[in-house]
Symmetry: C2
Subunit: 243 residues, 2 copies
């Protein structure tokens, strides 16, 4: 199974980089050395390296080696990146999380909601409002609208556990693309009711749309984060501006 092999190498190299066996700005061993070490083809090594590059761990220099660009994050923060559910983020950050479902109801998108979310007017949606707690502290207020004909059979219990586990595991939905916008917004009365804002008068807000493998939008979400626990990471490669 080449997929498993490449994934093993990717994980092993990632761990070595995180543990600073290969320190920031140093070169990794050559493709040939890695292929010998892991007893695999150079193509398999390249695939693992490509994944590390897209994670922002290394940068390839086209035939001149691979340099690490990873630095450990100094403070324990709740990091947002990739399309990850709250539960997955928490596990990765070794925190204890809980979720309170504050609202759960079925709605029909009116013109205003349709314009805001990107769903068609008249679409049947499931609205969920959840409070996310980390180590007992309320940190995130999550608003979700799911298209009810795709995300079928959602319940409060599923919302309390993990909607993504259910969509992928039970319904077999392939979650493919997420478009997100990060803004900083003044707090609302609702934010204040549920979050202890520690003197901040604004929040980090991520608003996003999620698409399945048919390119169909099945989710609109807005997560309102207490600022001191919020960190959003991004790796970009430069596109030269056009003439």
């Amino acid at each position: 199974m080449p997929k498993a092999k490449y994934d093993d190498i990717y994980r092993d190299l990632k761990e070595r980089i995180e543990q600073e066996e290969y320190v920031y700005q140093s070169l990794l061993p050559s493709e040939n050395e890695l292929a010998a070490r892991y007893d695999c083809s150079r193509n398999t090594v390249r695939r693992a390296i490509a994944q590390l590059a897209s994670d922002g761990y290394v940068q390839s220099m086209h035939g001149r080696g691979v340099r690490t660009i990873y630095q450990p994050v100094e403070q324990a923060a709740f990091t947002v990146g990739g399309i990850e559910s709250f539960k997955e983020s928490v596990a990765r950050n070794h925190r204890v999380a809980s979720t309170e479902v504050l609202e759960f109801r079925h709605v029909i998108a009116d013109a205003k909601l349709a314009a805001r979310t990107g769903f068609e007017e008249g679409a049947a949606l499931t609205y969920i409002l959840r409070l996310r707690l980390l180590d007992g502290e309320p940190l995130i207020l999550d608003h979700n609208y799911f298209r009810s004909d795709i995300a079928k059979g959602l319940t409060e219990d599923i919302a309390r556990a993990s909607v993504y586990d259910y969509l992928e595991g039970e319904l077999g939905i392939v979650i493919t693309t997420s478009k997100r916008t990060m803004t900083v917004e003044k707090v609302t009365a609702q934010d204040r009711r549920y979050l202890d804002l520690k003197g901040y008068n604004c929040l980090a807000v991520i608003t996003g749309q999620t698409y399945d493998d048919h390119g169909v939008q099945f989710e609109w979400t807005q997560s309102r984060h207490r600022p001191d626990y919020f960190r959003f990471q991004d790796v970009a490669t430069r596109t030269r501006p056009g003439v």
Copy 2:
């Protein structure tokens, strides 16, 4: 020139999608139809589509067509995305920008600065503090450290115009990867001195490191943005969490 051809098609399709000739969630014409329309190969069409997908404009459904997932942004905002200089962002947003250079000096990285920025202790750096104004309003406070042995010959005039134009155009540096972290931070006395904060007590902060095509870090930057003008966009594709 296949590069120019693919780029023309990419731009043309992008414009049609932005003008909602192809509305949100509709299908693009087939590869064959597009190849006939643009008088090019299907490979060239695919390359243009791949670029649109990485911009978050469309999603391919592997043999079953291409669906648009683009929606126009309703409010005029200063959007951050990709590795773009301030000047380029402004041009793309059709705004009038100006820059004030507040500080310009040469420093040697001590242990604390090295830990903060990722440069080696003892590295010779050029520090620049700039205020960015949009349509006359001070919106962003930009702190930059450049490695002086790579970003050679920087001057205040260059800092006032565009450092990236100089690095790429004059020095021939290939700016390749940028790693960025977005946080929300309480305002400092320095922020208050230069920015009119409209009652917000925090700022949107982007902290980043930029690498050339040798994978060497040549820049550390921190941009402190007035919240109401800040918007950060991101397109993510889902990686299934490991076992």
